[in-house]
């Protein structure tokens, strides 16, 4: 049975365009997510990430193009029987008890886990008989997670799942997600925390202005940007001087600590030494996903402008 789903891609978007009035939120997006894959969709606010997930789940119909969930039209509720979701801007009636909300979702799926198992995995076991309105923000987020997993789904769609969580809860949350990925679950997620996407995702899809502008493994994404981050301490060096160096794209000086992002670290450093700039605690590191992301999306804005 799992083989049957194994042959079908979990998600398919074929040349999907979505217009909201005059605004084009998605512009010719094609994307296939295979079972067992972990895909992070990244992009600045308003880039179209949430719209893309809404279309994958059938919450919205594409203006043109085709979306499939396990080979079926996602507008058909039956196509979602293997999907669990956490959405942005969703809510749960405040007068329901935690257990009731989870039980209700449990009954919507064919092979669910027990309410206790879902609450346990979400770290919410002690709150089972509490009303939703007395949960804290973090606990509410855990409840959304319990609702997402109680149906024992093959694929999890997580739209900004850690928004509003403190660092510690975020860590715990990603640990649980990692367990599920190890069990073989497919994962489609959007997040603002790029280091998390970097750690977890097999594949990163960068969306900007409704288009996919880069796609690949985290390493491949970083490689497309190239360049290095150079950090050092030096007194008296000015930002303007650094920006004039041939390879430097961005530079910031605060006190005596300097950070710059450069395409030609060797040449720039040679020039600085020749100009007699004294440097200590020099560090040259590969570009992080964060820098790659900023470079990718800001390039595009320059093109657009």
């Amino acid at each position: 049975m799992s083989q049957r789903f194994g042959r079908r891609p979990t998600v398919e978007l074929h040349d999907v365009t979505k217009d909201f009035g005059k605004v084009r939120a998605l512009d010719g997006v094609s994307l296939v997510v295979e079972p067992g894959e972990t895909v992070a969709v990244l992009g600045p606010n308003g880039a179209g990430k949430t719209t893309a997930i809404s279309i994958m789940l059938g919450l919205r119909a594409p203006t043109s193009g085709r979306a499939l969930l396990y080979g079926q039209n996602p507008r058909d509720p039956a196509s979602r029987r293997h999907a669990g979701v956490m959405l942005q801007d969703s809510g749960i009636p405040p007068s329901l008890k935690v257990r009731e909300a989870v039980e209700m979702f449990r009954r919507l799926y064919e092979r669910p886990m027990s309410v206790e198992a879902a609450l346990g995995a979400a770290g919410l076991g002690e709150k089972a008989n509490v009303k939703v309105d007395s949960l804290s923000g973090g606990q509410r987020q855990r409840l959304y997670f319990a609702l997402a997993i109680v149906g024992n789904p093959h694929v999890l769609f997580l739209d900004e799942p850690t928004v509003g969580l403190d660092v510690e809860s975020r860590r715990g949350f990603w640990d649980r997600i990692e367990e599920m990925v190890e069990e073989g679950k497919t994962l489609v997620l959007t997040t603002h925390y790029l280091e998390e996407a970097d750690e977890l995702a097999d594949r990163i899809v960068v969306i900007d202005h409704g288009k996919i502008i880069a796609e690949g493994s985290p390493a491949a994404i970083k490689a497309t940007v190239g360049g290095k981050t150079v950090r050092f301490r030096s007194s008296g060096v000015r930002e303007a001087y650094l920006r004039d160096l041939p390879g430097v794209r961005r530079a910031s000086v605060s006190g005596d600590s300097v950070e710059m992002y450069t395409m030609e670290p060797e040449a720039d450093l040679y020039r600085m030494f020749r100009d007699g700039i004294e440097v200590s605690e020099l560090e040259v590191v590969g570009v992080g996903l964060e820098e790659a992301f900023v470079a990718l999306t800001s390039n595009r804005k320059e093109v657009a402008a």
């Binding site: 979602r80 009636p93 799926y109």
Partner: protein, 266 residues
């Protein structure tokens, strides 16, 4: 389809009634646990009857005992309130908080959501009318045979249908606040103008002319006709009016429902 899967599908089908029962339970619990909601929709009709109806239950109205006449008037007011508030405003509020969106991302058929909500409205409507009739029977000594009770309650439930459709439209028309305001703007003036609090023939001329076009008037007329105090047009006539209103409200609800699906960024 493999054997395992078809078994699982059959299992899901077998579970469907239990699932629907749980959805209905959730709907009822949501309404009952909000005290303001419960008081407003369930207790208010009895409260109004106690204040305005009780002093004159033994008068005669349209040739029958006024107390019985009022069972149709206040009953119509009761089912209208349930449909507009427990059903319509609740939909708007759940839409506003993003609960509907979360449900639409599950394998649940959207129809189940509405069926569960309608079932809740019927149950809450029955509770509201039963409370009113128990109060009328035990405290105000309004005498009615069991068959009259049952018949009247059945007619009121039928009369609730167009208001459920209206509630559905309200639910998709605007946000939670505006839905509540609209429901209030509809509920009280409509009840008053239909002669639910004061008999139609005692209302100002203008209002008397408008009344026969109002859906709430036809709900009350169903009951009055059944009790032998109707306007002589017959029950079929009022049912046709109510069916017409149902179609119109339902069509409006569908238009706004569709519009809502395409709206808002995400």
């Amino acid at each position: 389809m493999t054997a395992v899967e078809s078994t699982a599908r059959a299992g899901a089908r077998l579970r469907a009634p239990a699932t629907l029962a749980y959805l209905i339970y959730v709907e009822v619990v949501k309404v009952v646990r909000i005290p303001m909601f419960a008081i407003f929709t369930i207790l208010f009709p009895t409260l109004l009857f106690a204040m305005f109806g009780l002093p004159s239950v033994n008068d005669t109205e349209k040739g029958i005992i006024a107390g019985r006449y009022m069972m149709s008037s206040f009953g119509a007011y009761a089912v209208m309130g349930v449909a507009l508030f427990s059903f319509g405003v609740a939909i708007a509020s759940e839409r506003g908080m993003g609960w509907n969106k979360l449900l639409r991302a599950t394998p649940m058929n959207p129809l189940s959501y509405f069926i569960a909500k309608i079932a809740m409205a019927v149950l809450v409507g029955l509770a509201t009318v039963t409370l009113l009739y128990l109060f009328a029977g035990l405290v105000a000594h309004v005498q009615m045979g069991l068959s009259t009770w049952v018949g009247l309650v059945g007619l009121l439930m039928a009369g609730m249908v167009p208001f459920v459709a209206l509630g559905l439209w309200l639910g998709y028309l605007g946000g939670p606040q505006s839905a509540a305001v609209l429901a209030n703007l509809i509920n009280l003036p409509l009840s008053f103008a239909s002669g639910l609090f004061i008999p139609v023939q005692m209302l100002p001329d203008v209002v008397q002319k408008i009344a026969p076009y109002l859906p709430s008037y036809h709900v009350a007329q169903l009951g009055w006709t059944f009790l032998g105090a109707g306007d002589g047009k017959g029950m079929g006539y009022h049912l046709v009016w109510l069916a017409g209103y149902t179609v119109v409200f339902l069509a409006l609800a569908v238009v706004w429902y569709r519009r809502d699906e395409g709206k808002t960024f995400g």
